[in-house]
């Protein structure tokens, strides 16, 4: 047991733990609304846009974070907050956007240093103090947002047409969800890598929906599952010297599979 806790004696492990818990919680809460609104593919697309932005920023010697955050935010607002119009926001256009960003990213990083690789596969143990604080700030903001506006988030997620038709003020909620999603994906990309961050959005929500039938409990369960899977993944990856991001996703996959099997 002491050996278990000794790994958190290192300050890089403490930072990884704190930042990871905050991001896992955000991703899980936002993921519930995204999955239920059938926007799961958009989460994945945003992570590829983030990768493209980071590569281009690195090539131009700009700060990756400060370029990626606004670019992904803008994309998220356009995709998630644009007026309801199913005919122009097909799967195909999101897939095109995401592969195009990937291609641009790969071209931009040709012959460059390994910094971009750390965004592609994550570098959870290299999280800097200011990144950890950003994650904590985001986590607190998302948590408070969900506590205060749970009813409105439910209304928007369950039936946006009804909400708008009856004059509910949900425009701000939709915008906030898009912006939080963008920031979560960019910060999470640093921890988990571009290729894996959307797993953090999808798996906890899907797992929670296997066992819960009420919106409030789905949110709670998704948050708890996500945080526990992150802690477990981090510890296991440390003990067995595995890639942390992939181990966290594997933990999520295991939980999902078990819940799927035991369900009724």
């Amino acid at each position: 047991m002491t050996e278990f806790f000794s790994m958190f004696g290192y300050s890089f492990m403490q930072r990884a733990l704190i930042a990871g818990i905050a991001v896992s919680l955000c991703a899980a809460l936002l993921g519930v609304s995204l999955v239920l609104r059938r926007y799961a593919m958009i989460g994945d697309g945003l992570s590829h846009v983030a990768f493209g932005a980071v590569s281009v920023a690195t090539a131009l010697h700009l700060s990756p974070l400060w370029v990626a955050v606004p670019v992904v935010m803008l994309t998220a607002v356009l995709l998630l907050s644009a007026r309801e119009n199913n005919h122009t926001r097909g799967d195909a256009s999101v897939a095109m956007l995401s592969t195009a960003s990937l291609a641009i990213g790969v071209l931009a990083m040709a012959g460059k240093n390994t910094d971009v690789y750390s965004y592609m596969f994550g570098s959870i143990l290299a999280v800097r103090a200011e990144e950890m604080w950003l994650c904590l700030l985001l986590g607190a903001a998302v948590l408070v947002f969900f506590l205060l506006f749970r009813d409105r988030i439910l209304s928007l997620t369950f039936d946006e047409g009804f909400a708008r038709a009856t004059g509910q003020r949900i425009g701000g909620i939709r915008l906030a969800l898009a912006i939080f999603t963008a920031v979560t994906i960019v910060l999470g990309m640093r921890l988990m890598g571009t290729l894996l961050i959307s797993a953090l959005v999808l798996f906890p929500a899907m797992s929670a929906m296997q066992i819960c039938r009420r919106f409030g409990s789905v949110l709670c369960a998704a948050g708890i599952i996500s945080v526990l899977c992150f802690i477990a993944g981090l510890c296991i990856s440390y003990q067995f010297d595995l890639a942390p991001g992939a181990t966290v996703v594997a933990a999520n996959l295991t939980v999902y599979t078990i819940l799927r099997l035991v369900r009724r």
């Binding site: 009813d151 047409g161 009804f162 509910q168």
Partner: protein, 231 residues
């Protein structure tokens, strides 16, 4: 002053006109049934009336209060949505909160009254996804009536329900009118439309027919519904 005036209305998607040159008026307490073939623009018209779709031409004038109650056409993804009955009904009260964060003092009472009105108090903790189709529609009606008890717009409320449950739902909607509720309902069941509605709007692909139910029965459009269509 009529409750609703629709003047020379045109509605379109991406420049493709679905409804053109539509004119009609409704008084408070009227019961309008909108009938017509699939794809004739019934749902589109409701979206226009609810300001979900801006008119490309003409105007829609509501008298004073226009925050209507709405029962949308149910989508597949809603049917297995993880939420309890109470959670769903409570979202009907959100429009009255405006920009306030916390619930209004009368919200709880409103939810209770509507759960009682539709006989679903005992289902309140049940997951919405586990209810029958008829029960789900009652839940959505309770949610709608939390939002407003002046005007109710319904889009095919009995789609996918068996005839017995449909008849009960139509009776329930009829009974709501005792409180002076104005009802605008899209339906493909002509029988309840003719027995309860005060007005009929029959949408065809190029033209439409509007008038009282008695006139409708005499008109070619009304006779035609048994066999042909207008236009």
């Amino acid at each position: 002053m009529p409750l609703l005036t629709v003047r020379n209305l045109a509605l379109a998607y991406d420049g493709r006109c679905v409804i053109e040159h539509l004119n009609f008026t409704l008084e408070p307490g009227d019961y309008l049934c909108i009938v017509g073939e699939n794809g004739s623009g019934k749902s589109t018209l409701l979206h226009g009336l609810l300001s979900l779709l801006p008119p490309t031409q003409g105007e829609i004038l509501w008298d004073k209060c226009k925050e209507p109650a709405y029962l949308p056409q149910q989508t597949k993804q809603q049917r297995d949505f993880p939420a309890s009955v109470e959670e769903v009904v409570r979202t009907g009260c959100l429009n009255r909160r405006k920009l306030r964060i916390f619930p209004l003092p009368d919200e709880h009472e409103r939810v209770e009254a509507n759960l009682r009105r539709f006989g679903i108090e005992s289902l309140r903790r049940r997951p919405y996804a586990e209810l029958s189709g008829g029960q789900q529609q009652r839940v959505l009606l309770a949610r709608a009536l939390c939002a407003s008890d002046k005007i109710l717009l319904l889009d095919e409320p009995t789609a996918g329900l068996d005839p017995l449950v449909s008849a009960e739902l139509y009776r329930l909607i009829d009974s709501l009118r005792d409180g002076g509720l104005t009802v605008i309902m899209v339906t493909h069941d002509l029988a309840p439309a003719l027995s309860s509605a005060s007005h009929i709007l029959h949408l065809g692909h190029k033209s439409y027919w509007f008038g009282t139910t008695e006139d409708y029965l005499q008109s070619p459009a009304g006779c035609g519904f048994a066999g042909g269509t207008i236009s």
